[in-house]
């Protein structure tokens, strides 16, 4: 990797070989990067690439297992966010951590106890302390304004002013534009540039390719927890970055045989909610519809809306003879929809109940006579499907929490196979499970398609989507940015649509931010 000489000599921040494991999952694997003074350095990567873990390491929120962080060439121990602040690292989280019922001045001065020698609040002294920083970020309202009265964009300015007031030389911003209007984005970018001119570095974490190309001096790409490369924004194309994000493994994934028919099972038209903007698509019998998108694109929100879990959802959802959005999960199930949620522990399983009880929970009324569960029928129905799933458990009466992640996922899938819905929405069904369990899940998807069911598959693993899907719908910030037939889909095309870089959108609807 060729770095400019002066930058190599004088990095403000240098990350060396940082690794972090969560349980068995390797979130960061020997990542190194450098940020020069005044540099606007973008950090980009697909889902699970390690961007947020790396930011958290730099911010002192997460302690790395290996590697070190150098500031001004000297090793720095950053054990807590407070340490990070002392070292001049400020963090602007996506969810701004301001005290909304306090005033702007109180928020800016919150950790600068030396402002107040007395324990009485002196608002004039507070204002005097805050004003220069507020002016620097272009915040012109009185500093006695309560934070809850501000817009998101103004709150962000306050957060940046606070970081500056604590002497930040490097400000880390995590998806700072995700809830900003276009004017606010322009204002923020102006501020970032002026920070850069004053020698304050910015590490900018974002999904938005166009913004990154517009604001960043340098771009570092991560993939699967590893460092891929750093490029100067001036001489890089979106295609090149996408190629780095996706990786060189272009081996054609074998696509499963298609079982798609012409019979439409589910029609969605103009489905909107707080997070979704006019989503339309069909699912046909025997079809696997893949859904791609980066975190926050609205994939899980789409599942929630279809399944009656989002009261703000509106639009047409035609299935089971009805055309409105199902008002509740019960109603959605009655119409022939199923949802295997993303977080199996939080939204899926009863961890203290047995394998058998978890698998039959949604068909209990079927198994009961006059409210009494027919034990024999319950055992035979659950055993049938659990054996088909090759579930490994001490017994079907074992508590679900004693199972491995892959087997837990199989229990959850079994529940829905027993319900046997016409269309099953699978949200990240292979996350955190081992290779053989993944194959079993693919087998289930294939089997469902063969038997004429419709499957909606949400996944962050593009090879998995390419392998299983007949079509792939790409979402970006709540909108459909592309619908690709599996024959024409590639990881690059999907990533381009998911990051919404214009050149790759092929006439698909564009995001007008």
């Amino acid at each position: 990797m060729q770095l400019p000489e002066e930058w190599r000599v004088n990095p403000l921040l240098r990350v060396e070989g940082v690794s972090k494991r969560y349980g068995g999952v390797c979130a960061l694997d020997g990542v190194s990067m450098e940020v020069a003074p005044g540099d606007v350095h973008a950090l980009i990567g697909g889902n699970g690439a390690g961007k947020s873990t790396l930011s958290k390491v730099i911010a002192g929120v997460v302690r790395p297992d290996a590697g070190r962080i150098l500031l001004d060439g000297k090793p720095a121990t950053i054990r807590s966010p407070l340490d990070a602040q002392r070292h001049g690292i400020g963090i602007i989280f996506q969810e701004l951590d301001l005290f909304t019922s306090l005033t702007v001045a109180e928020n800016v001065a919150i950790r600068n106890v030396h402002v107040e020698k007395s324990w009485l609040v002196n608002s004039a002294a507070l204002d005097g302390f805050c004003r220069p920083f507020l002016d620097q970020v272009g915040f012109h309202l009185p500093s006695s304004t309560r934070v809850e009265e501000l817009s998101i964009g103004q709150m962000q300015l306050v957060a940046i002013a606070r970081a500056l007031s604590m002497g930040a030389r490097l400000i880390l911003m995590d998806e700072p534009t995700s809830s900003l209007s276009e004017d606010d984005v322009d204002r923020l970018f102006g501020l970032i540039r002026s920070l850069g001119r004053n020698g304050v570095s910015v590490v900018y974490v974002s999904h938005r390719m166009q913004e990154i190309l517009r604001i960043a001096d340098r771009i570092t790409v991560l993939r699967d927890g590893r460092y891929v490369g750093t490029r100067s924004a001036a001489d890089v194309t979106p295609e090149a970055i996408i190629a780095m994000m996706v990786g060189a493994e272009l081996a054609q994934t074998v696509h499963a045989a298609s079982h798609r028919t012409d019979r439409v099972l589910l029609t969605v038209r103009n489905l909107s909610s707080a997070k979704l903007k006019g989503i339309s698509f069909d699912v046909r019998a025997g079809e696997v519809l893949g859904i791609a998108g980066l975190v926050g694109a609205g994939r899980s929100e789409l599942g929630a809306a279809l399944f009656g879990l989002d009261p703000t959802a509106a639009g047409t959802v035609s299935i089971g003879g009805r055309d409105n959005v199902p008002p509740s999960p019960r109603e959605a199930i009655a119409r022939g929809l199923g949802l295997v949620p993303e977080d199996r522990k939080l939204q899926g399983l009863m961890m203290q109940m047995s394998v058998k009880e978890n698998s039959t929970l949604s068909i209990l009324p079927e198994l009961a006579v006059a409210g009494l569960v027919d034990g024999r029928q319950e055992v035979s129905r659950s055993a049938g499907v659990l054996q088909r799933m090759a579930l490994k458990a001490a017994s079907y009466d074992a508590v679900v929490s004693s199972l491995s992640g892959g087997n837990q996922q199989k229990v959850l899938l079994s529940r829905w196979l027993l319900v046997d819905p016409d269309v099953l929405f699978l949200d990240e069904p292979t996350r955190g499970i081992d290779v053989s369990a993944k194959e079993d899940v693919y087998g289930v998807i294939e089997e469902l398609a063969r038997s004429g069911k419709g499957v909606i598959l949400v996944s962050s693993e593009l090879p998995e989507l390419l392998r299983c899907s007949d079509r792939i719908m790409v979402l970006h910030e709540g909108r459909v940015t592309g619908m690709l037939e599996s024959s024409e889909a590639t990881q690059e095309k999907i990533m381009a649509l998911a990051t919404c870089s214009a050149e790759h959108a092929n006439g698909e609807p564009q995001i007008a931010e």
Binding site: E249, M350, M353, N407
Partner: protein, 346 residues
């Protein structure tokens, strides 16, 4: 993809092999903690219990044992309904007030109402009215909790206050004493405080509640909701309906305990039953039911009830001061819950 697979493979160690079937006796005792506690307490009772004149242990006299069960029966009946509520992830603070209301209604209808037909019909109607009112209170509580989505603690705290007020207002805040001799209230009181009736009611209800919890769709739903309400919603469990039923049953049992209370006390007192909710919750918790829901059993609750009862009994046989008794119970509650939470993955 390959690296992805390797990463995932590392992420998921094979399911831990189940330990051999053999369990050390200690582990076995730990699993059946409340039973162990009960046995220990009985042994302790046998040792410290005073002796009767003929040298026999007072604690083990049939009269003493049945007395204990009769004394705990009201709390025991309430605790059955409370077990369902706590299993579903909730709490019901209103049962003491409901008991008082039920006892008051029973007494009012027996003493101040002369319907002009037989004693049996009169008693049945009075009891039915008391139970109906109690169940209605539980039903409304359940509806408010599930439909308006307010915390059970807050809703039942309000019910506790409101129902107490209602009971006092209804009776003008006076005891309604039962009559004697051939009065309908005296007959009711005789039957309703008869040991076999009281103990039998508790036993039959315990069996029914254990059966419903273990074998019916409703019982399964109760546990599922308490284990993981969000997942239960995703699975299509009718949460609002189940919760309404759970609180209705809890109210109904509190009402039944109130009827028995009236019979045993020979009066309807709108100020009775204070802190009964806490004793019932203590019995449930000592019985191993988790306050965070999803885990527990009726059997455990019965054991918990008996533990509290026996403790009271031996302390009173030893003439221990009532206030000291409270302090000892406080320690027991904390110890029991601490022992049960040990060695478990949170």
């Amino acid at each position: 993809m390959q690296s992805e697979q390797i990463r995932a493979a590392k992420a998921e160690p094979a399911a831990p092999k189940r330990a051999a079937k053999w369990q050390s006796p200690l582990a076995y005792l730990r699993r059946l903690q409340s039973a162990t506690g009960l046995i220990g307490l009985i042994i302790l009772a046998a040792i410290i219990s005073p002796r009767a004149n003929d040298g026999s242990v007072v604690f083990f006299q049939v009269g003493n044992i049945t007395d204990i069960i009769r004394q705990v029966s009201e709390i025991g009946i309430i605790a059955l309904g409370m077990t369902y509520v706590i299993l579903s992830g909730g709490i019901d603070l209103s049962v003491g007030s409901t008991l008082a209301l039920s006892a008051s209604i029973t007494a009012m209808l027996l003493m101040r109402w002369s319907p002009g037909f037989g004693f049996a019909e009169h008693i049945v109607l009075a009891v039915a009215a008391a139970l109906g009112a109690s169940a209605a209170i539980g039903f409304v509580t359940g509806l408010v909790i599930s439909r308006l989505n307010i915390q059970p603690f807050v809703v039942t705290l309000a019910t506790m206050i409101g129902v107490r007020g209602f009971a006092r207002w209804l009776t003008s805040n006076t005891n309604i004493d039962f009559g004697f001799g051939q009065d309908v209230s005296a007959v009711f009181s005789n039957v309703g405080s008869h040991k076999p009736v009281v103990i039998g009611t508790l036993a039959v209800l315990a069996l029914i509640f254990a059966f419903v919890l273990g074998r019916t769709v409703f019982g399964r739903y109760v546990r599922a909701i308490g284990d993981n309400e969000k997942a239960a919603a995703y699975a299509g469990v009718p949460i609002a309906r189940v919760k309404a039923w759970v609180y209705t049953l809890c109210g109904l049992l509190a009402g039944l305990a109130g009827v028995i209370h009236a019979a045993q006390c020979h009066q309807g007192n709108p100020n009775d039953g204070v802190a009964y909710e806490l004793e019932a919750i203590a019995a449930v918790v000592i019985g191993g039911t988790s306050l965070s829901g999803g885990k527990g059993s009726i059997g455990g609750t019965i054991l918990g009830t008996l533990i509290m009862g026996i403790l009271t009994n031996i302390l009173r046989l030893k003439m221990v001061d009532t206030n000291v008794e409270f302090m000892i119970k406080a320690v027991i509650i904390v110890l029991a819950v601490w022992a049960q939470s040990r060695g478990k993955p949170s």
